[in-house]
Every structure is written in C-alpha cells, then in structure tokens.
C-alpha cells in the first residue's frame, strides 16, 4: 500500500511526539535549572548550620519548637511514629564516620540539627509516583498534601530519614488552643517534612527556626547570590554536607 499524504502527516506527528517527549523528560528530570552556559539560573535557597554555635546550649530546642508550633507538627509520644520536621541527634549519626576518636573532642557525642536537605537532585522527587513531592525553581522540595497517596516510596528513597508519615490522625495530638491559624493541619496517611518555610520565603522572610535561634547558628539565604548570609558564612569556614557521595547535592551545610 502506498503512503498517502495523511499517513505521512500522522507518522511525522507521532515521530515528533516521541522526540519532543524525550526533550521534556530532560526538563522533568531537573537539568533545566542550569542556564545554557552551565551556570545556575535563579535562586537556590540553602541553609548553613554553625555546629559550634549550636552546641553551646545542649538543651536548647527553641528552633524545633518554633518550627513545630508554627507548622502544626503534632507531638506524638511514640518516637517510632513521631513527626519531625527539624530535630536533634548526634553529629556521628548525622554524618557517620566523619568524627574520629582524637580530634574535635568538644563535638564527640554532641548533637546537631537535622532536617530535610532540600537536595538539588532529590531521590524522593524522582521516585514519587504522583508528583506529590516536587522541587520549586528556587530548589525547595515541596509536598502536596492533597496529591500524596501515602505509598511512602519517598521515605524509602530519602537517604537522610528526613520524611515523616502520619501513621494515625495527627490532629489528635495537636493542642486545640494553640493551633496555628495561618498554616494547614494534616490528615492521616500522608507524608510530610520540612519545606524550608517556603510560605515565608515567598514573603521575603527567613525560616522560623533561623529566627528562633538566639546563637544565630542557623543561616539562610540564596546559594547563588555571592552576598547572601549563607555564602558569606561558607566562604570563611569549612563546611560538611550529609552523605555527599550519594550525589544528592544537599542544600544544608554544617559549618565546622
């Protein structure tokens, strides 16, 4: 059978779809954040945690309570089922193998802050089957509470344990009197995590945790802006990131 003009057009259209589909895959996979010359375009929000300033007050949980109260994070007594957006654990657990038995005696056994690393190459976003977790143009990894089906694949994919699942109804553990009116509460069966206070970043404000820290141990800003607080802090210090060998490119830095 001879190919008619219509057949040719149909075929060309389909071929075009396939080629275009390939190109859009690039966009979806995130490489579009780089401009043509390979330099970053736009903002990339990042955090630097000054470990030594933070350890000064070992019992301090000001940043944690500010975050959890401001975002209606329930206080669940069962640690196995807890919801944590920002929490404390030892430096050795946060960055296994970094500390040795001889150097930095003051940091051994000391706690540091843990939260979502807002990775530039987030495995959680890659694996999500519904697009319920995604990365904004400024690098913040977001959660759509209405899209999430609660499959918890993102929790398996996150190499930092930074995601929490609502095993039961979180509202049962909220103190009715002190629910923050300007932030939504969540329902059971979905995953949640720190979102770098995206709702505040959009209003030109810094995250709640940074604002609550008396020691000014939490610095926040645009990693692509040389004059930002984060860039200035990083310039004069040595900083570590959690599990950099995994290629996730975290946006949370730990200043030594």
């Amino acid at each position: 059978m001879e190919m008619t003009r219509l057949d040719f057009l149909k075929k060309a259209w389909r071929t075009g779809l396939v080629l275009f589909g390939g190109a859009s895959f690039e966009v979806v996979s995130g490489s579009a954040l780089l401009a043509a010359d390979g330099k970053p375009s736009g903002r990339r929000m990042a955090m630097a945690i000054d470990i030594r300033a933070c350890v000064k007050d070992a019992g301090c949980v000001k940043c944690i309570s500010a975050c959890h109260r401001g975002h209606n994070v329930p206080v669940i007594p069962d640690a196995k089922r807890a919801i944590t957006w920002i929490w404390k654990d030892t430096i050795d657990r946060a960055m296994p193998g970094v500390l040795d038995p001889y150097s930095g005696a003051d940091l051994r056994g000391a706690n540091t802050l843990l939260l979502c690393n807002q990775c530039a190459n987030p495995p959680c976003v890659r694996v999500c089957p519904t697009g319920a977790t995604w990365k904004r143009e400024d690098g913040i990894v977001m959660m759509d509470q209405h899209r999430c089906i609660g499959c918890r694949y993102c929790m398996a994919a996150c190499p930092y344990g930074s995601r929490s699942f609502n095993w039961g109804d979180p509202r049962r553990y909220l103190d009715k009197g002190s629910v923050a009116r300007d932030y939504p509460t969540r329902t059971k069966g979905t995953v949640e995590k720190c979102e770098f206070c995206a709702e505040r970043v959009d209003r030109g404000l810094g995250p709640l945790c940074a604002g609550a820290c008396a020691e000014k141990a939490i610095l926040f800003g645009d990693l692509n802006a040389p004059g930002s607080a984060v860039r200035k802090a990083l310039a004069g210090r040595i900083a570590l990131r959690r599990k950099p060998e995994l290629g996730t490119d975290p946006s949370v830095y730990y200043l030594l």
Binding site: V28, K80, I149
Partner: protein, 384 residues
Amino acid sequence: MIEKVFHGSRRYWLLLLVLGALIATGIFFYLRQTSEGLAVTGMSRSVSWGLYIAQFTFFVGVAASAVTVVLPYYLHDYKAFGKITILGEFLAVSSVIMCLLFIFVDLGQPFRILHVILYPSPTSPMFWDTVVLFIYLVLNLVIGWTVLTAEYRGTPPPSWVKPLIILSIPWAISIHTVTAFLYAGLPGRHLWLSAITAARFLASAFSSGPALLIILCRVARRYTDFDPGEKPERALGLFITYAFSAHIFFILLEVFTAFYSGIPSHRASLERLFWGWGDPASLTPFMWLSMMLAAAALFLLYTPARRRDAGLLIASIAVFASVWIEKGLGFVVGGFNPDPMEYVPAYRPTVPESFITAGVWATGLYILALLFKITAAVRARSSE
C-alpha cells in the same frame, strides 16, 4: 464455561467457605486500618515498608514465573507442559491481583490510588510497575481464558492469541525487573543498591513460582479429576534445581562483596539480618530458618532419586518457604535496617497486619480455586 464454578464437591464448597471467612476477617481488620490509619501495623518511621510491600514483591515473582511453563511449551514445543500452561497463566492472574491488593492495603490514602494514573510520573519505577503489572494481568487473563474456551469447544485457539502469548514471555521478565528497580536505584539503601537485585529477583521467582505450581499440581492430582501427570513435575523439578541454586549463589555473591570490601554500610544490613547486630529482636531466627530450608531443598533436589514423589513435594515446600522468608520479609525489612541514622529498630507484623495479609492471600487463593475449578472441569469433559 463459567457455570462450572457452581458445580463442585463438598470439599470444594468447604474450601470456598474457609477462604471466604478469611477474606471477611481481612476486610474487618482493613476497615479498622482505614479508620485508625496504618498505626495498626508494626511499621514505623524507620521501617516504613513491611509485610505488605514485601509480600507484594514476592508475589510479583510468583506471577512472573508463569513464563517457566509458557516459554518451553510455546517456544520449544515442549509438549509435557501443555496440560499445565493454563494453570501457570491462571496462577499469574491471581498473583497479580494479590500484588495490586497488597499495594492498595499499604497506601495511607487508598482512595487516591487513581492519582497514579491521573498524574503519570515517568521518573518513578512505581508508576511503571503499576502499568506493566496491569497489562500483565490482562494478558494472562485473556490468554488463559481464550485457550481454555477453545479447548472447551474442541477447536484450536484463535490465531490472534499466539502473538499475545509470545508478548507475555518478555513481559513476565519485565514485571519483575521493574519491581527490582523499585529497590535497586535508591541511594543509601545498601542491601537493595545492587546491580544483581533484578537477577536475584528472577532467580528466586523462577524457583518459588514453579515450586508453588508443583504443590498445586499435587493438590489437583489428589483432590480433583484432573491429573497433570508426572512429566511436567519432573521438568519443573529440574528447573527449580537450577534456579534455586542461582538464587543461593547470588546471595553468596552479595555476602562476598559486602564482607571482603569491608565497607560498613554494605555489611550492616546483612549483619543485622543474619547475626542480629544491634538488637536481638531482629529477623535473625527467620533468616536462618530460610537458609536451613534452602540447604534441605538443595540436598533433595541434587539427588535425582529424591527429586520425585514425596521428595519433590517436600523440596518444593522448602523452596517456597525459604524464598517466602528471604524475599517476602527479609529483603524489604532488611533494607530499612539500619535506617539512615544507623538505628536498628525491630519490626514485627501486628495482628491486624497479619490478618489483612491473610485476607489478601485468601482472595488470591479464592480466585485461583475458581479458575482451577473451571480448568479441571473442562479438562475432565474433554478427556471423556
């Protein structure tokens, strides 16, 4: 043809009654889970997938193993499998239904399951797994039903079914490969992050699946008019011997790389699984039971005189149980232990979780019983 399900012996009805009761119990506990949330299970922040997803993984393997009878029969014209290819395809049908149910009961928001289709995400292996599993289900249902209908009418199967059968062969490999990719591409989960994960899955599937088929053939032989004969069993027994050896070999390869390299993160999960490192309440006894069953199975399978009759049945049960523990529990839970913060929390399925799992099993067996019943009735009629 479908009316055959309404005519059965007393034993057949009793089986359906027992399975129905188990399904009802499962639904009862599932309703509790929907109202209280997944808090009724033993899962936690650290071990965020448990029995449901592990069983899902195991039954994708059973579903894929239909290829072990379909391929020799249709590509190599191995006639002895003629009697059991439909059984293999129907086993695949009920296994895939179980897989989809296991995914469903694991979801925190099950009524949003259509989001997977509404918002297709090509970067997610879970999206692809849903797609390939669903197509595999349709393929096997259409193939099995069409071939059986032709047999019922005493006509050769329609010619359009042959390309579907050929397609179902690579498709079977694909479902289990994609399921392995759910795990094998995750950074930081060292038990899973292995290039041979898909190969391991296929080897364990091609040993546990045919083992189940042998057990089912024995059941058919004993309790129904349909006798598949000894020849297909013998061939499957040989197949299991090779596939199960490969499965054990692959586990040993993982052990070598982890321990000879000495990299702590690679060793940790295996140490936890087999030596209970960090916490005595681990899966250690189950893992060693799995290994002992494997040793017993290999002993039986490697002596040809024992690879028949009772010996083959015992070996099949041992293979099935060994893989069920290793893959249907250990592999998934082991990957979460230690967790990213190097804690080693214990995981034990709870009572509701176990009954929901049993309910899904019963649903699969119920569907399988109906499909096998129709097949046996058609076969009994055509041999008259």
